[in-house]
């Protein structure tokens, strides 16, 4: 099981703050493509140029492997400070 969280503008665009997925995914890129294939209207929002990814609260790239129990988050480039 993988928990997927969405934040900020991406959360509003997708209309979800959290998904629970029971499938297994090799890496972040595979999860990203799965979500984009499930929801055509999500494609632009979830494209790698428009959203960053974190696994277990650490920023990662699309090659980062995924394991059952991971907490994944997708969010727009950050704007704090």
């Amino acid at each position: 099981m993988i928990t997927v969280l969405f934040f900020a503008q991406l959360r509003e665009q997708l209309g979800h703050d959290k998904l629970t997925l029971h499938s297994a995914f090799y890496d972040i890129g595979a999860l990203r493509h799965y979500l984009m294939a499930q929801h055509k209207e999500w494609q632009a929002y979830l494209a790698p140029d428009n959203s960053l990814a974190a696994v277990n609260q650490c920023l990662v790239n699309d090659h980062h492997p995924l394991h059952s129990g991971d907490e994944v988050a997708f969010f727009p480039p950050v704007t704090g400070g």
């Binding site: 480039p77 704090g80 400070g81």
Partner: protein
């Protein structure tokens, strides 16, 4: 990697901070350091879209403090800094209000200046905060500034 020093203070909260109190905490009983450098970020009244009245800061609570600790640890790996204090506010703030404080003490000013700027540059691109502005043309999410990304990456070429 050097362990995080017990003198680091990192706080993510709605409540305001007092720069004078933060400065005093960097100095109190501190006889080894000859320099304190600090930065305060404020809510501007005009930004990307409109005249801004309020700003709402969202964050990813489980990740925020973790990412700030990692940034401070990286600063410590680069320069011999002594005390570090970092406060970042979340929630809704009015124009002119304080958003962020970064304060660093060190034996010499050069390292304190560098560490303070490094922490801010990394925070702007790696810490999970997002700003939404409310103003006379409605609500807008602030878009990331590509210059912030370039500025943060420059440190990795040094």
């Amino acid at each position: 990697m050097r362990a995080r020093q017990p003198s680091d203070y990192i706080s993510v909260r709605q409540a305001n901070f007092c720069q004078a109190e933060e400065y005093l905490a960097l100095c109190a009983g501190n006889r080894q350091d000859g320099a304190v450098v600090s930065f305060v970020g404020l809510v501007r009244d005009f930004n990307q879209h409109n005249q801004v009245q309020t700003l709402t800061l969202e964050h990813y609570p489980a990740m925020t403090e973790k990412s700030l600790k990692a940034i401070v640890t990286e600063a410590r790996d680069r320069w011999p800094v002594s005390r570090v204090r970092l406060v970042h506010r979340v929630g809704t703030l009015n124009t002119g209000e304080q958003i962020v404080f970064v304060g660093v003490s060190s034996c010499h000013r050069h390292h304190a200046f560098l560490a303070c700027e490094f922490i801010m540059d990394q925070l702007k691109t790696r810490a999970p905060f997002w700003k939404k502005e409310q103003g006379d043309t409605g609500e807008h999410w602030v878009q990331a500034n590509p210059q912030d990304q370039q500025k943060a990456q420059q440190w990795h070429r040094q």
